[in-house]
């Protein structure tokens, strides 16, 4: 854009930004108060693109609308991705099918957010798991700890492909570990 932005241009841009923010907010199911943030994001994106605007090719309003629609698509997708990763909910939100109970009423302080995500929150189970792990670690030769760490990420075949350790030795050590765990009272799950 070669000439400076006039107040009329600004009004046009503000109007388009408000419309596109409202449209995006509606499609994402956001509250009206969140639209200001969307409008700001759309305007910030347009400002970086204004230097490439050519008045000979069309009106500023049309240019702004195309830019903002594209930006809205990107912002919308980013927002949906964030929502897929972490469900945003307030502890004060009402439970579905209940007029009085909120999320805070059904989650105890000790269980924390993890219990709502389906993660185990049983302290006794966690302690038993830790003791089992300690017993298993104690049964395995410390020399095999790096191998265990590698097998948590790769299959024996993949680890053998890396050439860190001869394949024959990998399988021999796995056999040895299995027997040691068996003797420690930890049978194979398979």
């Amino acid at each position: 854009m070669s000439h400076p932005i006039t107040p009329a241009d600004l009004r046009t841009i503000q109007t388009v930004a408000a419309e596109e923010a409202r449209r995006l907010g509606r499609s994402l199911g956001l509250l009206p108060q969140d639209r200001d943030d969307l409008r700001h994001d759309l305007l910030a994106d347009l400002l970086s693109r204004l230097p490439s605007y050519d008045p000979a090719k069309g009106a500023l309003g049309a240019f702004a609308r195309v830019c903002m629609r594209h930006a809205a698509l990107r912002i919308g997708e980013q927002y949906r991705q964030r929502r897929r990763r972490a469900h945003t909910v307030s502890l004060d939100d009402r439970l579905a099918g209940s007029e009085e109970l909120t999320f805070a009423d059904v989650l105890t302080e000790a269980d924390s957010y993890g219990s709502w995500c389906g993660q185990p929150s049983d302290a006794f189970a966690a302690l038993e798991r830790r003791l089992d792990l300690e017993r298993a670690v104690g049964a395995i030769d410390p020399e095999d700890h790096p191998l265990c760490a590698a097998l948590s990420r790769h299959t024996p075949h993949e680890f053998g492909e890396q050439g860190t350790m001869p394949r024959m030795r990998i399988y021999r050590r796995i056999h040895e570990m299995r027997l040691r765990l068996l003797a420690a009272g930890i049978p194979s799950a398979a």
């Binding site: 830790r130 265990c148 027997l179 040691r180 420690a184 009272g185």
Partner: protein, 113 residues
């Protein structure tokens, strides 16, 4: 060489190394098992050919495993003489250590991270 007080139960089928470990995994302190009967030193000697090759390998692995577990403090190994070159080789489960070093788990978890 010592004698064992508990009455060991002979296994119904030839004991393998894995079956021996599985027994120890479920054994309570003081439980005993006869893991071999005969004369180990003679029977595992390849040049004497007292056992078939497969059987000799099984017995050698089993006795080697028993020795490793004894060295690790998991079993006591004792023998009962029944006759000339005829012994019961008995493994007696020891009490398991209540807790291993608390520093070990964080170390292996750090290695895995």
């Amino acid at each position: 060489m010592a004698t064992c007080s508990p009455i060991p139960i002979p296994p119904p089928a030839p004991l393998t190394e894995a079956a021996f470990c599985a027994w120890l995994g479920t054994a309570a302190s003081g439980d005993a098992i006869i893991y071999h009967r005969g004369a180990l030193a003679r029977e595992t000697c390849p040049s004497l050919n007292l056992l078939s090759p497969d059987e000799r390998v099984r017995v050698a692995r089993l006795s080697s495993r028993a020795l490793k577990l004894a060295e690790a403090g998991h079993v006591h190994l004792v023998q009962r003489r029944r006759g000339f070159e005829d012994y019961d080789y008995v493994a007696i489960a020891r009490r398991r250590p209540r807790r291993i070093s608390p520093l070990l788990l964080p170390r292996i978890l750090a290695e895995a991270a």
